[in-house]
Amino acid sequence: MIEFLKRIFGSAPSSSSTAKERLRLVLMTDHLALAPEMIERLKHDLVDVISRYVEVDRERIEVNFEEHDRALAMLANIPILSVNRPEPPAVPPSAPLASASDGVPAAGARVPPAGGDSGSPPRRRRRRKKPQLASAAPGSGA
């Protein structure tokens, strides 16, 4: 009888498991906010990689974490000073990655030349990394 009543009263995921999942996610965000030195290190490494391709403004980089569709996303705003990198990257440029992700062009791919390095304001570009720290919610790839 109890089982029967339980079926009538819905078999959606229990509210306690929903609570736990929500807590897990929110604490992840909380903890990131609590670890500025980690974000500093991440910023540093990120810039190192991007700097192989373009010259960026290291002073004005912003890295934030946001929740999107119940998943955590990292948003980095990296001003590009110049795309004129004389030295080609040490590793061969990876063609598939360059056009695939998010429709965002690969760094330096389609940014018009800044007409020399002087005077022109730095270009800013949004670059989004898909969640690595949370399990991606279904359909969050759009």
Partner: protein, 284 residues
């Protein structure tokens, strides 16, 4: 009436004391999770074991520990009277009903939390540690100055958490602020086993999967807590109640005894209780 313990004169807070007792702050971040009830009952349970215990109500402006302990009519002086050196410590503390080894230092009611000098608070707790085996500090809610003052003289922390998302998140934050130095340990308060069984409340395992703290024990959501608080008689004194035994077991664990963390007893499930819970969410 007021019966100050008149032993040898206590060293003034300015002296640098050699600490001996343990100073434990009871905190949570979130308000209303049972910090004061926990402080009163753990203080009582530790005193029942024969330890000398001082309870400090650090919730300046919202004095409550005195009324929960049933001592509101005996309190004459308060924490700020001592910190500001208007009254000697031994005159400001009030002995608990029928227990000479349990004293309370009440909070100031008509004052503000930011009127407490952190350094003086630290010295006061250090002075109390010279004379008491345990100094339990009932922290105010929040993570601002009141919390910082409550923590100032403590050597360890007990965090009280109810099985609710907001309480868990706040405890997580507080533990992050405290760091490992305070060796925070967890009491899960107001657990309702029936709701847990139905998947309607976070279980102790759920809570501690997230917090990952050493578990001191679990206190059930017992209506008797309301009754005993109404009367100002800590429930830890009651031998007939499982919740009283749970507080005493937690006290034993604090004292270092190797006893299992108390868990709420499985309530007997009655058909009536089940149906009642289904329709009204009322507990059996």
């Amino acid at each position: 009436m007021h019966q100050p313990t008149h032993d040898e004169a206590i060293a003034p807070p300015s002296a640098v004391p050699v600490a001996s007792g343990r100073a434990i702050v009871v905190t949570s971040g979130k308000g209303g999770v049972g910090k004061t009830t926990t402080s009163a009952n753990l203080g009582t349970a530790l005193a029942l074991r024969g330890a000398r215990v001082a309870l400090i109500d650090a919730d300046v402006g919202l004095r409550n520990l005195d009324i929960v302990m049933g001592l509101e009519n005996r309190v004459k002086y308060h924490l700020l009277d001592v910190l500001e050196e208007r009254v000697a410590l031994e005159d400001a503390v009030v002995a608990a009903k029928g227990m000479e080894n349990l004293v309370l230092l009440a909070a100031a009611q008509a004052r503000e939390k930011d009127e407490v000098d952190t350094e003086k608070m630290r010295r006061l707790v250090a002075a109390l540690r010279e004379r008491y085996d345990y100094v339990l500090i009932d922290s105010p809610a929040g993570i601002e100055l009141g919390f910082k003052n409550a923590v100032a003289g403590a050597s360890e922390a007990i965090v009280v958490c109810t099985p609710e998302v907001s309480a868990v998140r706040d405890v997580d934050r507080v533990v992050g602020l405290l760091g490992n130095a305070f060796k925070p340990r967890l009491i899960v308060n107001r657990l309702r086993p029936q709701l847990v069984k139905k998947g309607k409340m976070l279980s102790v395992a759920d809570v501690n999967d997230i917090l990952r703290l050493p578990l001191l024990g679990v206190i059930a959501d017992d209506p008797e807590i309301i009754v005993t608080t109404n009367r100002g008689e800590p429930l830890a004194l009651r031998n007939d109640l499982a919740t009283g035994a749970a507080y005493r077991a937690i006290a034993a664990r604090i004292a270092g005894e190797d006893v299992p963390a108390p868990m709420p007893p499985e309530e007997k499930e009655t058909l009536f209780g089940r149906i009642g819970a289904m329709f009204g969410g009322k507990r059996s």
